[in-house]
């Protein structure tokens, strides 16, 4: 088990900066997800922890010991790659036992341990097969077994579920989470899938363009997105964003004006982006006037696309009213406490500020 610490870690390839100076602490036994779009530096960060890439500057510490100069083989980490990276010429048993080859362990014990781990991830029936004879899900499990077999201090998962079909992804999500809780290994999951991050991890680190945008629990991300980027990236369907200006307690936008206030002093002034969550908007007798442009049934919920005085809005209704039709004139209202406001210039959240009808 290990406590992982990054101190001002950066990574650049020539002039291209992949990771900006980053400080981070991951506690012993924690399950952390690094979330972000492709090219945001999340995999680079993971590979730096693994020792595959060396940081350009800064220090990586495991349990307080600097790891920068330590080779991957001596870091005692398990890693699952997006492509699984199983050794094609070895069968499943040899693949899983491979990391034990380099520890001074009797061969019989190595095989026994490999088979134990294989049972843990339910691939004990496949031990004599070659990777090419396995399905994607089976390969994924074998890769996981190989990462776990030497009882690593740190488990790194690089988009491990992205090559699986939707149902299998759901099962593996639950299994990996349960496995992590059972083994207590500090685990870092890299993903671009917000659902994967929010369902599996204790804490989420959201990255964009080589910088950490926000660190927090799934709940923090939902109700207090730190920046416009996070607000756009998290949530499905995404937040409605309305651009406008704040002046003397009013939020002015296109054809409408809303009340603007703050729990922490004076109402903000200048360029503001207001975030209205689709699921907090409700139809009612009064509020913002608009017209239904499209209706998208999503099973238990229904998504309405509206053209309103504030611009285009998405409204998510969990108990859909069947009487709504396309072209109907409606009013939507919302609770001021649930709105989030961002400074248009800095793209960061203005704490305490709200808008109301």
């Amino acid at each position: 088990m290990a406590r992982v610490e990054l101190k001002q870690v950066t990574k650049a390839w020539g002039d291209v900066v992949a990771v900006e100076p980053t400080d981070l602490v991951i506690e012993n036994g924690e399950f952390v997800a690094v979330l972000g779009p492709s090219g945001c530096g999340k995999s680079t960060t993971l590979f730096m922890l693994a020792g595959i890439y060396a940081p350009t500057s800064g220090a990586i510490l495991f349990d307080g010991h600097e790891m920068n100069a330590v080779e991957p083989k001596d870091r005692n980490i398990g890693i699952v790659f997006q492509s699984y990276a199983l050794y094609p010429h070895m069968n499943v048993r040899d693949n899983i036992a491979f990391p034990l080859k380099f520890q001074k362990l009797p061969k019989s014990e190595a095989i026994a341990r490999a088979e134990d781990v294989a049972r843990l991830v339910h691939v004990d029936e496949l031990l004599d097969r070659k990777p090419s004879q396995l399905s994607g899900g089976q390969q994924q499990r074998v890769a996981l077994a190989r990462a776990l077999v030497k009882q690593p201090n740190l488990l790194l998962l690089d988009e491990p579920l992205s090559n699986l079909d939707a149902t299998l992804r759901l099962t593996m999500r639950t299994e990996i989470k349960a496995l992590q809780k059972r083994t207590g290994i500090t685990t870092i999951l890299v993903t671009h899938d917000q659902l994967e991050a929010t369902t599996m991890a204790d804490r989420i680190i959201c990255m964009s363009r080589g910088r950490i945008e926000q660190i927090g629990t799934p709940e923090d991300f939902y109700s207090r997105p730190a920046s416009l980027f996070v607000a756009k990236f998290i949530g499905s369907p995404p937040l409605n964003l309305v651009e406008g200006t704040g002046r003397e307690g009013r939020f002015q936008t296109g054809g409408a004006s809303l009340r603007l206030g703050s729990d922490q002093g004076a109402p903000p002034e200048g360029g503001i982006v207001a975030g209205l969550r689709p699921e907090m908007l409700t139809f009612g007798p009064e509020g913002i006037a608009g017209e239904i442009v499209a209706i998208e049934p999503m099973g238990r919920e229904t998504l309405y696309i509206l053209d309103t005085d504030l611009g285009g809005l998405r409204v998510l209704e969990s108990r859909p009213d069947r009487t709504h039709t396309v072209g109907q004139k409606v009013h939507v209202s919302f609770d001021a406490a649930e709105t989030v406001l961002f400074d248009a210039a800095t793209e960061t959240r203005i704490a305490g500020a709200w808008v109301a009808v």
């Binding site: 595959i52 080779e71 991957p72 083989k73 890693i79 990276a85 050794y87 010429h89």
Partner: protein, 306 residues
């Protein structure tokens, strides 16, 4: 489908066959099949310098198997030469070059590969001349100059270690072929396999042993078979550097055939010797084909030809 259309399609198929396979078949016939046929025919005659075939005779075969005192030694030399060049240079050194240059930063790696390709690109006569200068037995020779500077007594490589000389001279050229094939094979190994092996606890040499070598098994087999055959029949560098000497100490089989046929003018006997070389080559390649399980390397074609 009308009968007309069917005949038309059949004609098209035949035309395609001629257009696509015709040239290759013709070349194969002219440059591979015909020479063998001519060789066999000449082997049963008494053709000499006059190029006249007088009579049908088994005399050449009798001479080859019973009276040629050079033959056994030549075959032994050929065996040492082929095995030595393969084992030290064309496979092993080619592999080392590929491993090292792919591990270097790409620009440096490319530079060293280009350096090792130079001998292959230079005309063989120039290459041989450079060797002749390098091994010059007096203090003018490159190697002896170095030896002198290091205080080592000067050496006559050509007379004292002729076999080492021709193996090294051929190997320096031969290694580049393996180097190129192995380099591209190593490059095609998914990078994540190396990353996985390193995090699994393997150090540099173990990664090579457990990941790289198994992944390039087929290219290694291919180079071994291919280079064996080309070493068996090639003699130009030996001819240019040592001319098979001193005495007959570096006269490998292919050079021996050449000398008998073209330098002594015994065309018929040369043809008979060459025939044995063909038999040896075929036998060697069949053995290696079986031994290295090369059949598994070939894939069924995925294109249907109409």
């Amino acid at each position: 489908m009308s009968a007309d259309l069917i005949t038309q399609q059949k004609r098209r198929q035949r035309t395609n066959f001629v257009i696509f396979l015709g040239p290759a078949c013709l070349l194969l016939l002219m440059f591979f099949v015909l020479p063998v046929v001519v060789d066999i025919a000449v082997a049963f005659t008494d053709m000499g310098r006059t190029l006249k075939a007088g009579e049908f005779t088994f005399e050449n075969f009798e001479r080859m198997f019973t009276r040629d005192r050079r033959l056994l030694k030549t075959l032994t030399l050929t065996f040492i030469y082929v095995l030595g060049t393969l084992a030290f240079f064309n496979v092993t050194f080619g592999l080392i070059l590929a491993l090292v240059t792919t591990a270097l930063p790409s620009r440096a790696g490319g530079f060293f590969r280009a350096v090792w390709l130079l001998p292959r690109m230079s005309p063989s006569v120039v290459y041989a001349l450079l060797w002749a200068w390098a091994i010059d037995p007096t203090e003018r020779g490159l190697i002896n100059q170095i030896f002198l500077a290091l205080g080592i007594p000067i050496l006559d490589l050509q007379n004292d270690f002729p076999m080492v000389l021709i193996i090294v001279a051929n190997g320096f050229i031969g290694a580049s072929m393996g180097m190129i094939i192995f380099t591209s094979a190593i490059r095609s190994i998914p990078e994540h396999l190396f990353h996985a092996a390193r995090t699994d606890g393997a150090g540099g040499l173990r990664v090579v042993w457990h990941i790289t070598l198994p992944a390039i098994r087929w290219p290694i087999s291919f180079i071994t078979v291919y280079q064996t055959l080309s070493l068996l029949v090639s003699f130009e560098y030996i001819w240019l550097i040592t001319d098979g000497g001193p005495f007959f100490d570096t006269t490998v089989y292919a050079l021996y055939v050449y000398k008998r046929a073209f330098e002594s003018g015994q065309y018929a006997y040369g043809a008979t010797l060459a025939l044995l070389l063909v038999v040896i080559g075929v036998a060697a390649s069949m053995l290696m084909w079986r031994f290295l399980n090369m059949k598994a390397l070939l894939q069924e074609p995925r294109i249907e030809v109409h």
